[in-house]
Each structure stands twice: as C-alpha cells, then as structure tokens.
C-alpha cells in the first residue's frame, strides 16, 4: 500500500453558529436543492468563524446529523491547537486550516458550502505534510493576438478578453477565458490532470490538458462558439457546455 498527501475537491461547511439544529436544517435545505451532488459527498467542517465559542458546539451530535443527512464527515479545521483533543474525542479528525481568505469571505448566512480544493488527509496520517502553495493566477487584460504566447509557469491563466487564432496560452493550472477562445490552449502543462479549460466561446484550434491534446476541427463538437468547459477524464478530453 501507499499513503500520500493529495489535493482533492471537497465541500467545506463554514460554520457561523454553534446551534446544531439550525446548521442541520439549513444544510438539509441546501442538500435538497441538488441532492445528486451532495449525496454521500465528503464534507469538511470549517470552524474558523466560531473558534471562540467552539466549546458550545456539540461536535458528536453534528457528526451524527451530517451522517443522517447522507454526508460523509471528513474532519474539522480552523481550530486552535488546545481544542484539538476535545475534537478528536468527539470522533473527528483535525485538518490544517484552509486559505485565510475564506475567513472573511462569508458574512450573513449561518452555514454555507463552497467547493474548494483542500488537502485531505487520512485520519491516521501525521500532522505535517508539505504545504501546497495557494493557487496563484495570472490576469491577462489584453487580447492574446495571433503569434503571441502567454505562459503561466505556476498557477491559472485568467484572460479577460479573447485569444486569437494563431495564439497560444499555457498554464500549469487551469485556463479561464472570459471571451472567445480561438487559439491553442494548454492547461496543466506540468502534468496537473485536474486542470481545466473554461471559455465563453469555444473556437480553439487545439486543446490540451496535462499533455493529452486534441485538435478541434469543424464538427468535432457541437459546442463550437458556445460557452464550454474542458476537463480530462482518464485519457480523454471531455468538452461540456458551461452555462
């Protein structure tokens, strides 16, 4: 066997209150909006907003309510080191805190989920694994014209306008194009198979993720000229509508 620290997509439940019933009720409502998405999905509980009043939260009850709602509780994060013992005693694992920005992002709602990539650890794993650098994205405000090349060595490329036929955009992460994508586009150039390509209008000449490439000829996709997302499924590039 092998044990590795890896990045995965996970739902994070940001707590704004210590009232388990209130949390569970809101969560149930949210779940019923998209049941297929949340059914049996792993969830992390982020306590950074209620860290002072954490003692009032019945963690064991929360865990049971999450299981009842068909979630898979993974762990708790955003707590002080001296609180860890109590949390582990309540049957939870403790995770390293997520990006600081998440702290101020939420304001009004009591509970809210956000898809966020975070490091998942097997419960048995030792606390310190190398910290993955936060996603850095590079913003490109001008069109990428024919003959120009944009290479984001580390992170995502975010393009505010279009790319032209005969241009090339490369990023080690994902590529977001808030306009027409007409040139070549290569995401995950260092091998990140989770990298994706997003665009407002798909008209690319060539798409590639983590080295798997595909020419986009006439008739290869009925999403030509439409908003699209491209992801990698195994060895195959999947083009999906994005709206």
């Amino acid at each position: 066997m092998e044990i590795k620290g890896e990045m995965s997509m996970l739902n994070v439940l940001h707590l704004h209150s210590t009232n388990v019933k209130e949390i569970a009720d809101q969560l149930e409502k949210k779940r019923d909006e998209v049941p297929s998405f949340f059914l049996n999905s792993p969830v992390i509980v982020d306590c950074s907003l209620i860290v002072e009043t954490l003692a009032e939260l019945d963690l064991a009850a929360l865990k049971q309510r999450l299981i009842d709602l068909m979630f898979v509780p993974v762990g708790v994060r955003g707590v002080e080191p001296e609180q860890q013992a109590a949390i582990i005693k309540a049957g939870w694992s403790v995770l390293r805190a997520g990006p600081k920005s998440s702290k101020k992002a939420e304001a009004a709602a009591v509970a809210e989920e956000a898809s966020e990539s975070d490091e998942v650890k097997a419960p048995a794993e030792v606390e310190e694994t190398p910290v993955a650098s936060a996603n850095i994205s590079k913003l490109i405000e001008k069109p990428v014209r024919s003959g120009q090349q944009v290479f984001v060595e580390e992170g995502d490329a975010v393009l505010l306008t279009h790319t032209s036929a005969g241009s090339e955009v490369m990023a080690s992460g994902s590529v977001h194009v808030y306009g027409a994508l007409r040139g070549r586009v290569l995401a995950g150039v260092h091998g990140d198979t989770n990298a994706r390509i997003f665009c407002r209008s798909l008209d690319a000449e060539l798409i590639a993720i983590a080295g798997r490439y595909q020419l986009l000829d006439e008739g290869d996709t009925d999403l030509r000229g439409k908003p699209a997302m491209i992801r990698l499924d195994g060895e195959k590039l999947i083009i999906e509508a994005l709206d």
Binding site: K142, P143, V144, R145, S146, G147, Q148, T161, H162, S164, A165, G166, S167, A180, R182
Partner: protein, 268 residues
C-alpha cells in the same frame, strides 16, 4: 502636440500605401501640417501614389545617413497645403533604417511643428514594419475582408501592443481599424468576411470601411490620392474616416448593397 500614426497591416497588397496617401492628404486638407513617410525602403511606392516620383532628389535614408537635410528631402505637395512627403530609397534595403536614425527624423519633424506624422509601413513583420510602428502613438490597421489579412492584422496588433515604444513605456498605442476593398455584394454571397465579423475577431474600434472601387486604381495610376476624388465612393469613405479620426461621429456608409431603381436596372 504632434502625433505619430502608423498605417500598417502585416499582409501586403491590402492598401496601406493608398490609405497612407489618402489619410495624410485628408489630414492636411483639414488644415493640419502633415508629413507622410515611406518606410518601404527598396520598394518605394508612396511617391508614385502621391504623384511626386519625378520630384524625388533625396530620400529618407539620405536623411538618416546625414547625406541630406530633412528640409532637402521633404517634398511639398502642390495640391494640398501643409502636406509633405518623405520618400523611401529605392536603392537600399531595410537595414538602412536604424532606430536612432528614424527617431531623429521623427523628432525633427515634431520640432518643425508637424501635427501629424504618417508612417506608411511595408508589409511583413521585419525591420521596416517594426521601425514604422515603433514610434507610433496611434495605429491605423488596414485589413481586407478575408481571413489571411485579418489574421496578419491580428499579429501586427500584438506586436504593436508588446514591442512598440509606447508598450515599452507601459502605454498603449491607440488602435483604429480600416477595412479596405469592401464589396457588400461579395459579403452577401459569402465570399468575404463582413465588417461585423472582422470587428469581432480583432475587437478594435472601426475607423472606416472603404468600398472596392475602380477609382482607387485610377487614382493610383494618375498619382492622385483617391481622397481628392470627391465623386468616388472610396474618396468619400476616406473623407468620412478622416472626420471620425478627428473626433466627429458620423455613420458608416457604403456597407450595404446599393439598391438599383427600376430604370437603373433597365438601362444599367
């Protein structure tokens, strides 16, 4: 405050020199002191279009090399006041254009009180084209309604915004799109790209659309900038473009198929 305007396209044969001549003449007609410089060293054409080929004594390269003064080389147009032509050399190649040399000529023109310095770029993206656009404040990108021309224009726009002096300073070169040789009938028939398609691909503001017109060739052959032919559609379209360039807001013309009346159909 003088402005340096480059007329460029990437692709050859789309009408850069015709447009440079028309634009410079139009600006001068409006009372602006204007110089138009031919950067196509070795393939000198602007003097022909302007009808001054027999008056060329010294040229751009002579001035750069210090063999003649700028005053000696500038040819004053006989039809329009305030218009001066600086011809290219026919016996040299583009390597004769040094950055310092070009800069000194442009600076001298500015110091002489020229309002507009129009740089007629050669085709391609090599030294001549690069020198023509390097000092530009504004660029008029000439495009024909066909895919290869549009792509080359796109390439030139990229170079303008990354390698010009303005870009090196962190400024942007103001871009204008001039679509030439436009034929609404062929757009309708699907042989040509429409103006809307071109604007969408290049996404820069449209300065003007010059219709395909026999008067352009006639004007070139007779050494008369087509903008002076006030009766031709191309001449009128260039005049409109100049007005727009100088800040007026006027609607685009000649973009739709001319509807022929009953008698016109009968008698042609």
């Amino acid at each position: 405050m003088s402005k340096v305007i480059v007329v460029t396209s990437g692709k050859g044969g789309v009408g850069k020199t015709t447009s440079s001549a028309a634009i410079a003449t139009g600006l001068a007609e409006k009372g602006n002191k204007t110089a138009v410089i031919d950067f196509d060293v070795g393939l000198r054409n602007l003097d022909l279009i302007m009808g001054v080929e027999r008056r060329v004594v010294y040229d751009f390269v002579n001035v750069i090399n210090g063999e003649a003064t700028l005053k000696q080389a500038l040819i004053k147009d006989k039809r329009v006041d305030n218009l001066f032509i600086l011809p290219a050399s026919q016996t040299r190649d583009k390597d004769a254009l040094s950055q310092e040399g070009v800069e000194s000529v442009i600076e001298e023109l500015k110091a002489d009180g020229f309002d507009y310095i129009v740089c007629d770029s050669p085709a391609g993206i090599e030294k001549g084209a690069f020198m023509a656009l390097y000092f530009a404040d504004e660029a008029i990108v000439v495009t024909n309604p066909e895919v290869s021309s549009v792509r080359d224009s796109d390439r030139i726009l990229g170079i303008l915004q990354s390698r010009s002096k303005a870009a090196e300073r962190g400024d942007t070169v103001k871009e204008h799109l001039l679509v030439t040789r436009y034929s609404p009938e062929r757009v309708e028939g699907g042989d040509m790209l429409s103006v809307d398609d071109i604007v969408e691909i290049l996404s820069i503001p449209l300065l003007g659309v010059i219709p395909e017109s026999g008067s352009v060739l006639q004007a070139s052959n007779s050494g008369q900038p087509v903008i002076l032919d006030k009766a031709s559609t191309a001449g009128m379209a260039y005049s409109d473009a100049i007005d727009r360039f100088l800040g007026e807001d006027i609607p685009h013309r000649f973009m739709d198929i001319e509807k022929k009346g009953f008698f016109k159909k009968l008698f042609g």
